[in-house]
């Protein structure tokens, strides 16, 4: 399966970005761009045409939670599907992320199957809502 969906993957560790990119490739998504924190990602999101945001939480510069809040506050980006992929595993943090507007939350370490399932679930809900 090949998809034209455009992904932005935000993580401060290049290894993790590469892992996510490889997994997305295996799932048939070839259009993937990388950013290393929210400060880098936000202008890319505002100036680009991305369909899906996958972001880490704990990053130097702008953390993922703030990035999600900025995205949700933006008129054009507000409805963008967002998956948070993070090592932050406290219940209160998950609640906070949901309140900020994430559509899915995956904790590291994760499996390829989990990533696939969550992306598909988010996309299905997104297309149903559209």
């Amino acid at each position: 399966m090949q998809s034209n969906l455009s992904f932005l993957v935000v993580d401060d560790f290049s290894t993790m970005r590469r892992i996510i990119k490889n997994l997305l490739n295996d799932l048939g998504y070839a259009n993937i761009t990388e950013a290393d924190d929210g400060n880098t990602a936000l202008p890319m999101l505002k100036n680009g045409k991305f369909d899906f945001l996958i972001t880490d939480w704990n990053m130097p510069g702008m953390p993922g939670l703030d990035l999600v809040k900025h995205v949700r506050a933006d008129a054009r980006l507000g409805k963008m599907p967002v998956l948070m992929l993070t090592a932050e595993a406290k219940r209160e943090q998950i609640v906070e992320a949901v309140q900020a507007g994430v559509n899915g939350y995956v904790i590291k370490p994760f499996t390829a199957a989990t990533l696939k399932e969550k992306i598909e679930k988010i996309l299905a809900a997104h297309s149903a809502a559209a």
Binding site: F13, S14, T15, R18, I19, N22, W57, N58, A87, E88, A89, K90, R91, E92, I94, V95, V98, V102, N103, G104, Y105, V106, I107, K108, F110, T114
Partner: protein, 237 residues
């Protein structure tokens, strides 16, 4: 100072007793007063020596803890930071090296799968083994070369894991330093005298971000993705 006045008054008292005994010509009383005088004088000196020794011990303890902390702050902590940065580089390099090899192997496997599928389709379409013999020969050659390369890449992946030995040694060294730092800080706090109870220390600890670590304090952490999913479901996501 009050101890010294008390001791002096005792000494004056024994001197008076000595004077009276000498005036009266009472040799026995003079001996008792002299012994009493010596006793008080010795105990005063002993007390003063003990106090000086205590003060000296306190100063030495303080100096030892300060000197230890100074060495840690100026030399060993920056050194540990430098070593941890090296750990980060080693793990980063090893992860990228491993992914390079995986990315190099995956197309070989994909190509072999693709060619095998193509031959299966030819057979299903009615081609005989004789008819597709050249393709079969090419496929076997392809698989042989491809799997040889994959095997070689897997050996390299194995070797790339050698970073763990190096990083493990460095991390153990840093763990030892943190133990010593903890001990030196506890000594300093003991000398300084503030509350060093675990509750008091925990109350000041900043809320850490990062992965949950088994055995480390992580209140309210979920047990895995299933717990996350259950929580998301409760929250309507």
């Amino acid at each position: 100072m009050s101890t010294r006045l008390l001791d002096n008054s005792e000494l004056v008292s024994w001197l008076g007793a000595m004077s009276r005994a000498a005036t009266a010509g009472d040799e026995e009383a003079l001996g008792v007063a002299l012994a009493g005088f010596e006793g008080v004088r010795n105990s005063t000196v002993t007390m003063q020596v003990r106090r000086v020794a205590n003060d000296l011990q306190f100063a030495l303890d303080h100096f030892h803890a300060s000197a230890q902390l100074k060495d840690m702050a100026q030399r060993r902590v920056p050194d540990a930071r430098h070593r941890l940065a090296h750990v980060l580089r080693l793990t980063d390099d090893a992860a990228h090296r491993t992914m390079d090899l995986v990315e190099r192997s995956a197309p070989l496997a994909d190509h072999a799968t693709h060619e095998a599928d193509r031959l299966i389709q030819l057979q299903k379409a009615g081609s005989t083994v004789q008819q597709i013999a050249p393709q079969l020969t090419a496929f076997v050659t392809l698989v042989s070369a491809g799997m040889g390369a994959v095997r070689s890449n897997l050996a390299e992946v194995l070797i790339a894991q050698g970073y763990q030995d190096l990083t493990g040694q460095i991390i153990r060294g840093v763990m030892k330093l943190t133990q010593e730092l903890e001990s030196a800080l506890a000594d300093l706090l003991r000398i300084a005298g503030p509350d060093t109870s675990e509750e008091a220390i925990a109350a000041d600890a900043p809320g850490a971000h990062g992965p949950a670590v088994p055995g480390a304090a992580a209140h309210d952490a979920v047990g895995g993705q299933q717990d996350v999913d259950a929580l998301l479901s409760q929250l309507g996501v």
